[in-house]
């Protein structure tokens, strides 16, 4: 992004890629952009006459992410560097950036490869450790989404599908980061043993990795935003999710300004950060809770109840009371659509879920997950021989209460909560109305 003489770029890196960042900054200076500040992965540059500048992107392990900006340790460290001819530019987390116009006169900030390796390794391990934990949580979440319970709700929601794609993207990106970090650790250890120059990754490698990562993120964001623009049903959900995601960011931003102004000790800052995380979680849960209550009270679902329902309890001769309306849900995604119906009174009830998709693999996956889930809950459904057409598979439990009907493009799960009708009659009616 460029506004007049200011340029802001996105450039992601880990502490062990410090040399790659130095190369990047030097390249920018040659093109007439001088670094002003860094915030996370956002770099802010100012227009200058193109010139050769030597940068040093340095890890100060003693600095903590809980320190306020310009902590005493950081200021003392900068004094040392200044005395050695290095001008301080900015800091972000444990990273301190310095530059010099004439690197021939100046001594490098680190003259002991092993010491540098240790502090870079420790700082990178912190980041990679968190990435590893996040990746494990995401893998577990994705597993729970796909392989724990029935899948029809997930496959019939664009929001859920795009959330899963984002999870997949994060798992993929984090795995690349973690693997490339460990490759570096092995290489660097080998070089240290042989007393050779230590490689800290290079700009070309990091640039390729970043292009790859950013393209992937862009595709995923597009996938996420398309339903927001075109699908009215999901617009509310996605906007709501984006608002929720903004809550911790806004809180973190305010906390940082507060901490930098007040200059408390590291322990106090840590307590403030932990407190802000608790507040963020509380706010997110409150917002999610309110929205759930809102949707449960029917405000969200009222628009679906008018949709035509192919099978009702009244189709079997039981009257639906006028004052109680059936519980009906309808979801649609790019892969499938799902209709859920429940109506019951004191003695009789009927509930079913119709899952419809034009993709045979989606139908197969849903059938498989549904049968496994029912089995997990003690309902082992067996394939039945019925008088329905041969392209319809019918599964039922031993009590003949739960039925699963599968065709080429539909999976229907019906629970019969009434008597006085034969199994064949019931299935024929359901088949006639639904298929």
């Amino acid at each position: 992004m460029r506004i007049k003489d200011i340029k802001i770029t996105l450039f992601s890196y880990l502490p062990y890629e410090c040399v790659a960042v130095e190369e990047y900054l030097e390249e920018m200076a040659k093109r007439g952009w001088l670094l002003q500040s860094v915030k996370g992965y956002l770099f802010k540059f100012k227009r200058i006459e193109p010139k050769k500048i030597k940068y040093s992107v340095d890890v100060l392990y003693e600095a903590s992410i809980f320190d306020c900006k310009d902590s005493n340790a950081a200021l003392e460290y900068r004094e040392y560097c200044k005395a050695a001819g290095w001008n301080y530019v900015c800091q972000t987390g444990k990273i301190q950036i310095f530059y010099t116009d004439d690197d021939r006169k100046n001594i490098s900030i680190h003259t002991d490869e092993e010491e540098k390796y240790k502090s870079v390794l420790k700082a990178s391990l912190n980041n990679v450790g968190w990435q590893f934990i996040l990746t494990l949580i995401l893998i577990l979440d994705l597993y729970m989404f796909l392989f724990n319970g029935s899948i029809d709700y997930v496959l019939a929601s664009d929001l859920m599908i795009s959330s899963m794609l984002i999870m997949l993207a994060l798992i993929f990106i984090n795995s690349i980061e973690i693997i490339s970090f460990f490759i570096w650790v092995i290489k660097a250890k080998g070089h240290l043993k042989e007393n050779k120059f230590m490689p800290y990754n290079n700009y070309k490698q990091l640039r390729i990795k970043n292009i790859f990562k950013n393209t992937y993120i862009l595709i995923i964001l597009l996938v996420y935003l398309v339903p927001l623009i075109f699908n009215n049903d999901d617009r509310f959900n996605i906007s709501f999710l984006l608002i929720i995601m903004c809550i911790p960011l806004i809180i973190e931003f305010c906390i940082e300004i507060f901490i930098n102004r007040k200059r408390y000790s590291r322990k106090t800052n840590m307590a403030i950060h932990i407190g802000s995380v608790i507040v963020s979680i509380y706010l997110i849960f409150t917002v999610v809770g309110i929205s759930l209550i809102w949707s449960i009270t029917g405000l969200q679902q009222s628009k679906f109840t008018t949709k035509k329902i192919s099978l009702r309890l009244s189709d079997f001769g039981y009257k639906e009371k006028k004052d109680t309306i059936p519980n009906i849900n309808f979801d649609k995604s790019i892969l499938a659509q799902r209709t859920e119906y429940y109506y019951g009174n004191e003695n009789n009830n009927l509930s079913y879920t119709i899952f419809h998709s034009q993709y045979s693999w989606v139908i197969e996956f849903d059938e498989n997950r549904l049968l496994r889930t029912l089995k997990k809950y003690g309902r082992d459904l067996k394939l039945e021989n019925t008088n329905l057409p041969s392209n319809i598979k019918v599964y039922s439990d031993s009590n003949k209460k739960i039925f699963v009907l599968v065709s080429k493009d539909k999976v229907v799960e019906i629970t019969k909560g009434f008597s006085g009708i034969s199994e064949n009659e019931f299935l024929n009616k359901a088949y006639k109305n639904i298929f």
Partner: protein, 107 residues
């Protein structure tokens, strides 16, 4: 642990400890190392900062004065012992070298 870690001092460690036989502030140590080694050994500010932190943690040096952001240090008895042990080790190595490699060395 400390003894093991500093069993054999690296060149920068050796010269930093030597420069702290006199009380000096952090920034002056860089200059002192340069002078003592006659420009042969260079200690970067990052390396110096990290090593001073380690030495202080292991009680090999102690802080004597704080003026603004300038902190001065001096070597402790423990640090002196480690430095002298290293000195003796180097002398033994040089003497052994003299016996075994006499005549081989050309300046």
């Amino acid at each position: 642990m400390a003894r093991e870690q500093f069993q054999n001092l690296t060149e920068p460690m050796y010269y930093i400890l030597m420069s702290l036989m006199k009380e000096r502030c952090g920034v002056d140590i860089m200059q002192a190392v340069d002078e003592i080694s006659k420009g042969r050994v260079k200690v970067g500010p990052g390396t110096l900062y990290a090593l001073l932190g380690k030495f202080e943690k292991e009680n090999m040096i102690r802080e004597t004065e704080v003026q603004g952001r300038k902190r001065s240090y001096i070597i402790t008895d423990k640090g002196k012992k480690i430095l002298l042990d290293e000195y003796k080790r180097l002398i033994i190595m040089v003497n052994d070298g003299l016996l075994e490699m006499e005549g081989e060395y050309e300046d």
